[in-house]
């Protein structure tokens, strides 16, 4: 990275870390307990669970837009951003799928149920897992890149379905922050959620940045190896 980019990266990293420290303190010290039907103390998982789902949407959008741009006009940077978006969408999706059942155990009495939102979230994460697996094991040729890009564009189609699954098909998921919901009935709860969104946005940005840089470096290694082989420097 260049000097300016280094400064920006480490500045954002420090800001993100500071916001997370503040957020964790705020969640445990300032936000009140929710009603028992919502899980009581376990409801505090919500302040990371929902922003992680939002970060998954963001990374999925990065994957979709970069994939679309790559299909339109292929460049290494677009391919790297698409791959980074899929990688990070899987990580945030795993956070959602790991934290949700632990909260559900307290609120619903079971770790997993085939609720529409849970099912569509799982399907969406599996689409991004397939993009990651394809890029990891199917080579780095032009055809593989384009096929993964097409899959990345298709993957984002599942994201609105997750969002509207509760409205369309009901299920166990709360509808607190939807249009028909009652909202968070305490200012501290709203504040914690908003800070959570900010923190996860920054974290998603940093992770996508790191993974894009890694993928670009891998492309550079491939080019240097081709050059070294062509000139007889390595076998």
């Amino acid at each position: 990275m260049t000097g300016t980019k280094d400064k920006l990266f480490y500045g954002l990293l420090a800001l993100t870390a500071a916001i997370f420290v503040y957020l964790i303190g705020y969640i445990f010290l300032a936000t009140p307990l929710a009603q028992l039907q919502a899980g009581g103390l376990a409801q505090k998982i919500f302040y990371f669970h929902v922003p992680a789902a939002y970060a998954m949407y963001l990374c999925g959008a990065v994957c979709c837009i970069s994939s679309g741009l790559y299909l339109y006009s292929p460049t290494d940077t677009r391919d790297a951003a698409a791959r980074a978006g899929a990688d990070c969408a899987v990580v945030f999706g795993a956070m959602v799928l790991a934290s949700g059942p632990l909260w559900a155990k307290k609120a619903w009495g079971v770790y997993w149920t085939w609720d529409p939102r849970l099912t569509t979230t799982l399907l969406s994460v599996l689409v991004f897992v397939s993009v990651v697996m394809l890029r990891a094991f199917a080579g780095n040729g032009e055809a593989e890149r384009k096929f993964a890009s097409a899959l990345g564009v298709l993957g984002v189609v599942t994201l609105p379905i997750i969002h509207y699954a509760v409205v369309m098909w009901g299920g166990n998921h709360p509808t607190v922050i939807t249009k028909t919901g009652g909202g968070l009935r305490h200012p501290a709860m709203t504040h914690a959620l908003m800070v959570g969104f900010l923190a996860m946005t920054l974290l998603a940005g940093l992770l996508v940045w790191c993974r894009t840089r890694l993928t670009l470096s891998l492309s550079r290694v491939a080019r240097l190896e081709e050059q070294a082989i062509a000139t007889g420097q390595i076998d």
């Binding site: 899980g39 009581g40 103390l41 376990a42 505090k44 998982i45 990371f48 669970h49 992680a52 990580v91 795993a94 956070m95 790991a98 934290s99 632990l102 909260w103 155990k105 307290k106 009495g109 974290l203 992770l207 790191c210 993974r211 840089r213 890694l214 470096s217 891998l218 550079r220 290694v221 240097l224 190896e225 050059q227 070294a228 000139t231 007889g232 420097q233 390595i234 076998d235």
Partner: protein, 85 residues
């Protein structure tokens, strides 16, 4: 082989009070500790983030090393025209 039946030492005096079947009930009490679920959720989420960052960082370091090796090899080859790694 015959085995004599031991004399009953159980404290259950009335066999009819034992369960003879298990029946599902609605709304059974959820006894898992909310605190342990909360801690587990935060640990898993942060574990995932830190593992992802660590693996990315380690891979980036390996890739940077490989790039510098290849650049040196190419530069050496360009200098003497016959360098091989």
């Amino acid at each position: 082989m015959t085995q004599s039946q031991p004399e009953s030492t159980t404290t259950t005096s009335d066999p009819s009070s034992r369960s003879t079947e298990f029946v599902a009930v609605q709304g059974g009490g959820e006894t898992t500790s909310a605190a342990s679920l909360l801690i587990a959720a935060y640990a898993v989420m942060w574990g995932l983030v830190f593992a992802f960052v660590f693996l990315s960082w380690r891979r980036q370091a390996r890739v940077e090393t490989r790039i510098s090796e290849l650049e040196k090899a190419i530069a050496a080859g360009g200098a003497d025209g016959s360098g091989r790694q």
